[in-house]
């Protein structure tokens, strides 16, 4: 008996000891006052708007920081049945391409517009990776205003990075492809395939984009990019991989060389060459879609020509800097002097110096050329290497205090290091594989030094499991002190590839609250209930409808036949913030509409069966929202039913013959 209790005692003691030396788990990584640092009390606003790329959902999501609350999902490259984006007659043109309406894309990176290297809170640019496109979102309405397709490109990955005054947005090719639509064997990659760096000019006042010129580069994969700033203002830097020019099993064949390149493009020179007529205008078709705020309607224009610049004809425009092992991120520090290339397969981080680079160019310190483009000697451009930073460096952002923060995919951590002496200062684990990271303004001249968000590429145990697919996770770190501190997890959509963030004060007070109905220039606007109307032309029926709390005018419509094309042009007459009205009609194989106050939006309905079709407001608008509905009567083709409509009067039914 005694022995037994002794053994039991030993067992208990052992278990207790094992408990106490249990391995550190994700849950223990947060300590102290983390909650109070991210708590935003009811009635208070977040400090920061965080714009996060939606990855394969094609949208952009907006979060508040430090709370991590989701504020909005902005439809950009994917149709959105929630508000009719891509479904309404007004917005279909936004998703038009030379291959017709493409309802989806892979949205990777974002960039906030800048003036003098600082965020100006005007526009947000977004790229589509799959069908190469660049979009501009207006930050007063959080609406997509413009989408430009990029020809001669595939995998629009190093995009949409911008210059310091938003002079240009770039779009670099990830997959090299033949220019034009030539039919060539894949094995002729080295001869026929090219990568292009497209420069899209942005109008200073309207933001309107225009494909200014494309620089034709050798076949390889351009990965990421960033513009220079300050002294390096005139330059753009692109990271590249697969300079081996492999076209099959890239996993092995594109990792052969010890060094790939950072492509340094003098865009000022390129601009001069373009103006001087050094380029070649070649046929290329691409769509340019713009949303007209006055007409509240998007139009799509197909363009037919693009200006190509060949580095052979344009000396001093492009240089190559060798960079170890498939560089991914290509980030420029706030001073504009340092270029950080993150070799994702390298065990160190090379940091290049802009002044050394220009000196090397002046002194012709080259080590050969890549298809005619001079390659600067590695050591001649190198500022130094960060030794043993971790494994798999991907992206670097800056805090404005001389520190850089690099995400490490393989070793799953964020590493803080000093730009001056390239010493590692601090490291924190991420749970699990980190991809991009972002400091508000971290790629501008004036970064914020308070927060860092790490966006996970693969996440496993951060939130309640939801079947085979788990929520993506973003992790917020407090970087105001010497030691980085994890303070919050929040879930995100898609796989966020990059994000931008700015102080809320920069855009909060510029928000449009409603559209002035008197300035509504829509072709099918209904200015007041008395103007409501139904017009038939052949088999097209245009319904001029108004919506105001809590009724639709007209709400009884008869005399529509099977096979008709019915257009509901709904004008929201409200002039108050946050009073949109919705519109949906039974069995419509389409979507619904959300119509903002003062706006007109059109939903098309082609009934193929006779019957009574109720329609109603889908956005809860008032205590009488449920009552905001009506009926459309669809009669058989050729029936003797006169066209009738009204609200507040009983429509006398006319028997079908």
């Amino acid at each position: 008996m005694k022995r037994l209790s002794l053994m039991l005692g030993l067992a208990v003691a052992t278990t207790a000891a094992m408990q106490s030396c249990k391995m550190k788990t994700a849950a223990t990584a947060v300590q102290g006052d983390a909650a109070s640092k991210t708590y935003v009390a009811p009635g208070k606003y977040d400090e920061i708007y965080n714009f996060v790329s939606g990855g394969f959902n094609g949208q952009v999501s907006v979060y508040g920081l430090p709370s991590g609350r989701l504020l909005k999902v902005i439809p950009v490259f994917a149709v959105n049945p929630e508000n009719g984006y891509g479904y309404s007659e007004e917005t279909k043109a936004m998703l038009n391409t030379t291959n017709g309406l493409i309802p989806w894309d892979d949205q990777h990176h974002l960039d906030l517009s800048q003036t003098n290297g600082e965020q100006d809170g005007r526009w947000l640019f977004a790229n589509a990776n799959n069908t190469p496109r660049v979009a501009r979102i207006d930050l007063t309405t959080f609406k997509t205003m413009e989408i430009l397709q990029i020809p001669n490109s595939a995998g629009n990955h190093s995009s949409p990075f911008i210059t310091e005054n938003t002079e240009y947005v770039v779009a670099g090719t990830r997959f090299s492809v033949p220019l034009g639509s030539e039919d060539v064997p894949i094995s002729s990659f080295k001869d026929n395939f090219h990568s292009t760096a497209s420069f899209i000019s942005v109008d200073k006042n309207s933001g309107k984009m225009d494909l200014a010129f494309q620089i034709v580069l050798p076949g390889m994969n351009l990965d990421l990019s960033h513009a220079g700033k300050g002294p390096s203002h005139d330059w753009f830097f692109f990271s590249s991989y697969n300079t081996e020019q492999a076209y099959t099993l890239l996993e092995v064949n594109a990792s052969q060389k010890d060094k790939d390149y950072i492509v340094a493009v003098n865009w000022k020179k390129a601009e001069e060459y373009a103006k001087a007529g050094k380029g070649k205008k070649v046929p290329a078709t691409y769509a340019h879609n713009t949303y007209d705020e006055h007409k509240q309607t998007a139009t799509s224009e197909i363009k037919n020509e693009v200006l190509l610049l060949d580095p052979k004809d344009c000396p001093d425009m492009v240089y190559m800097i060798p960079c170890p092992k498939s560089p991914h991120g290509c980030d420029i520090d706030p001073s504009g002097e340092y270029i950080v290339g993150s070799g994702k397969l390298a065990a160190l981080i090379p940091v290049f110096s802009f002044s050394k680079m220009t000196k090397a160019i002046a002194g012709k310190q080259f080590e050969g050329d890549f298809k005619g483009i001079p390659i600067i000697k590695y050591e001649a451009a190198l500022h130094g290497e960060v030794q043993k930073p971790g494994l798999g460096p991907l992206h670097t952002e800056f805090d404005g205090k001389g520190n850089a923060y690099t995400s490490m995919f393989l070793s799953s951590e964020v590493v803080k290091w000093s730009l001056k002496d390239l010493q590692v200062l601090d490291r924190v684990p991420t749970y699990y594989s980190v991809g991009h990271l972002m400091i508000p303004g971290g790629d501008t001249r004036k970064p914020g030094g308070k927060y860092l968000v790490a966006y996970n590429k693969i996440t496993k145990d951060r939130f309640l499991p939801t079947g085979p697919e788990l929520a993506q996770s973003a992790q917020l770190y407090d970087i105001s002190g010497d030691k980085m501190q994890l303070i919050l997890d929040f879930p995100t959509f898609g796989e966020p590839h990059y994000a931008q963030a700015c102080q809320a004060s920069l855009i909060k007070d510029k928000q449009v609250k409603y559209y002035d109905i008197n300035k509504n220039g829509h072709d099918y606007v209904t200015m007041g209930e008395k103007k409501a109307n139904v017009v038939r032309k052949g088999n097209r029926v245009d319904i001029y409808m108004t919506a105001i709390r809590s009724h639709l005018v007209p709400d009884n419509i008869e005399g529509v036949f099977v096979g008709d094309e019915v257009y509901f042009h709904v004008t929201n007459l409200e002039q108050d913030w946050d009073i949109p009205h919705g519109f949906a009609i039974k069995n419509n194989p389409n979507a619904e509409l959300l119509i903002m106050p003062g706006e007109t939006v059109t939903l098309k309905f082609s009934p193929d069966k006779q019957g009574i079709y109720p329609f109603y407001c889908t956005d809860f608008c008032s205590a009488l929202h449920q009552e905001m509905s009506g009926y459309l009567r669809v009669s058989p083709k050729g029936a003797n039913v006169p066209l009738k409509f009204g609200t507040g009067e009983t429509v006398t039914s006319v028997a079908a013959k």
């Binding site: 009635g43 709390r549 002039q575 108050d576 008032s622 205590a623 009488l624």
Partner: protein, 189 residues
């Protein structure tokens, strides 16, 4: 007939200027606040118009069957400016004639206008608050919605504050000047 003193004479242009503010500033304001309207709603009553969040207030009033407010429904917006303009013109005449008795009359007329205006305002609020549509979307038994003539009142979950606005305060000041000077002139004889 007794002549008006220097102070009495000086007070006339001051009163006229005070009243002139009615054309440049609102005279009365009714502020409303509720949890669902954190920024509040406000209606400003001018001498010839009603401004502010009137369309939104009308939208809300619609639920309880209150009439909607429209500038063109108010005869007051014609009478008020005309009577005040006449009153100001009378002041200029008194300045020329300098008669005490006329000044007393002037004060008297002011008080009558003020009293009638307040009476009318009360009647207006009473009617709006009580003459409700018999078939409103929402009917709260025993509830009427008359806003306070002046001061604070709670109507359902709305807090309502009714008070003079800029021109209103000038109007009150001109009343105080008139009564004060009348008293002063009366004592002086």
């Amino acid at each position: 007939m007794k002549k008006l003193s220097q102070a009495g004479l000086m007070s006339i242009p001051v009163v006229i200027i005070c009243l002139a503010t009615l054309w440049f500033f609102p005279m009365w304001r009714i502020d409303m606040r509720a949890p669902q309207y954190p920024d509040g709603l406000s209606m400003q009553i001018w001498i010839n118009d009603v401004k502010g969040d009137v369309p939104i207030i009308n939208g809300l009033n619609h639920y309880i069957g209150m009439k909607t407010i429209h500038q063109e429904d108010f005869l007051e917006f014609v009478f008020m400016p005309v009577s005040i303009a006449f009153f100001m013109a009378a002041g200029i005449l008194i300045m020329v004639l300098k008669k005490k008795i006329l000044y007393y009359c002037w004060t008297g007329i002011f008080l009558v206008i003020a009293l009638l205006s307040f009476g009318d305002f009360y009647r207006w609020e009473y009617n709006y608050g009580h003459q409700l549509d018999p078939n409103p979307p929402i009917k709260v038994p025993g509830m009427s919605y008359q806003p306070p003539l002046i001061g604070y009142k709670k109507l359902l979950n709305f807090e309502v504050l009714s008070q003079p606005d800029v021109a209103g305060w000038f109007y009150i000041a001109s009343g105080l000047i008139l009564v004060g000077i009348t008293y002063y002139e009366w004592k002086k004889k």
